[in-house]
């Protein structure tokens, strides 16, 4: 007769349906497991982020460092610049620092590296104490009542010129800035995820 047995047909349909359903089930399970793993990983790394680190690092009152520059300025004779009128000693403070707004932070979650790029230090402020001036005269005629103002200007010019020439002031400001950033960041990453390494450049 060649006609299909209705019982066999319904059994085959049922088997097919089960196979499709099982495939869907396996797909759903695998997808959900992968989704959950990815989600968990994301939860862990969200703690150490660039914005969190920016908030930790940008403490403006820690951006400048003081150097003491007690120096001697030489004042030449106006009519004969080969001759010295007097030497004047002064006490000054030189502030050097870095611009914390220019700090660049990157976080490499794969390599577990936090990289902080700090800008070059620069002289931010110079302050000469006018009451500290003391003189050695080579030309007694130069010792007039107006001398303090002239000497003070000479001291300001001298400390500006000398401190800009002196690499050690800027190098120490840079080193102090590195130490401040280490002091701010290291304790936090040690407690949040000790696998991270801080690199400051």
């Amino acid at each position: 007769m060649g006609g299909l047995n209705p019982i066999n047909t319904s059994k085959q349909k049922a088997r097919l349906f089960i196979i499709v359903l099982a495939t869907v089930l396996v797909t759903v399970v695998v997808t959900s497991v992968l989704f959950q793993k990815g989600h968990e990983k994301k939860e862990n790394v969200q703690i150490i982020t660039v914005s969190t680190l920016e908030k930790i690092i940008k403490v403006s009152e820690l951006s400048t460092f003081t150097a003491v520059y007690n120096g001697i300025a030489e004042v030449k004779n106006k009519n004969n610049p080969d001759l010295t009128d007097y030497f004047v000693s002064y006490e000054a403070r030189v502030n050097a620092g870095i611009d914390f707004d220019k700090i660049a932070i990157t976080v490499d979650d794969e390599a577990k590296i936090i990289k902080v790029d700090i800008p070059d230090a620069y002289i931010t402020d110079i302050n000469v104490d006018i009451s500290s001036l003391d003189f050695i005269f080579y030309n007694q005629h130069a010792n007039k009542s107006t001398i303090t103002q002239e000497a003070f200007k000479a001291c300001e010019a001298d400390v500006q010129e000398e401190s800009e020439k002196e690499d050690a002031i800027l190098k120490l400001a840079q080193q102090n800035a590195v130490n401040v950033i280490k002091a701010l960041v290291n304790p936090i990453i040690e407690q949040l995820d000790a696998n991270y390494t801080l690199v400051i450049e």
């Binding site: 089930l25 403490v59 820690l62 150097a67 003491v68 120096g71 030497f87 002091a183 701010l184 290291n186």
Partner: protein, 220 residues
């Protein structure tokens, strides 16, 4: 057949509902630690460039009777002074969200004259001065070394800055721990003198991420 279908559908719904449930973040195990505070204090040490002038005057160094001359000269030199607080004296007591921190005075932790900064033009000799010998210049270097330390130790502004730097870094540390935990800490600062005895105390309450701390002072 229907039973199998119902079982499978139930299984699917269960899997989907469990997978869609947000993974609960693990509680963060953080707390202020004394060991970390000591490390912060060590990093808070300020290395300060110090350019100084040593002024030397020796009366009646040359000549006889009323024909005497003084030795009078200045020397310019540079050095590095380390200023900071003694980390071993920093202590902390945590009582819930109340933290009491003892902070010693800043002091000179080391200083060194840069011998290369002493050159021929570092010496400014008064025209009326007696002759300056090589021996005087050697003596002047020793005086410079001693003066550098004395000068730094008496520079109250610089020492206060070093102490303030340490305090700010410790305060930031507590704020950052608090932010990570979602807690607000208040800090009582107990300042110690050079002998390690309490001088005065300050209470900062409360600390939040964006607000400056309120401060109350009290002296002992």
């Amino acid at each position: 057949m229907k039973k199998i279908l119902v079982l499978l559908l139930t299984a699917i719904i269960l899997v989907i509902s469990t997978s869609c449930k947000q993974a609960e973040p693990e509680p963060i195990n953080m707390e202020p630690k004394v060991s970390q505070m000591k490390s912060i204090c060590e990093l808070a040490v300020m290395e300060c460039y110090y350019h100084n002038v040593a002024k030397l005057k020796e009366e009646d160094a040359e000549g006889i009777l009323w024909w005497k001359k003084d030795k009078h000269f200045w020397i310019e030199y540079s050095g590095i002074v380390k200023l900071g607080i003694d980390a071993s004296l920093v202590t902390m007591e945590v009582n819930g969200t109340q933290i009491k921190i003892t902070l010693p005075e800043a002091k000179v932790l080391g200083c060194k004259v840069d011998s290369t900064s002493l050159q021929e033009d570092s010496y400014i000799v008064d025209v009326k001065s007696a002759t300056i010998s090589a021996e005087d210049e050697v003596k002047a270097f020793a005086v410079a070394q001693q003066q550098l330390e004395e000068n730094a130790a008496s520079n109250r502004a610089l020492l206060a800055e070093a102490q303030q730097r340490a305090q700010t870094l410790l305060e930031e540390y507590i704020i950052n721990i608090g932010n990570a935990l979602g807690q607000e800490y208040s800090i009582q600062w107990v300042y110690l003198d050079s002998q390690g005895k309490p001088l005065s105390s300050t209470i900062n309450t409360p600390i939040t991420e964006n607000e400056p701390a309120n401060t109350e002072n009290s002296s002992n």
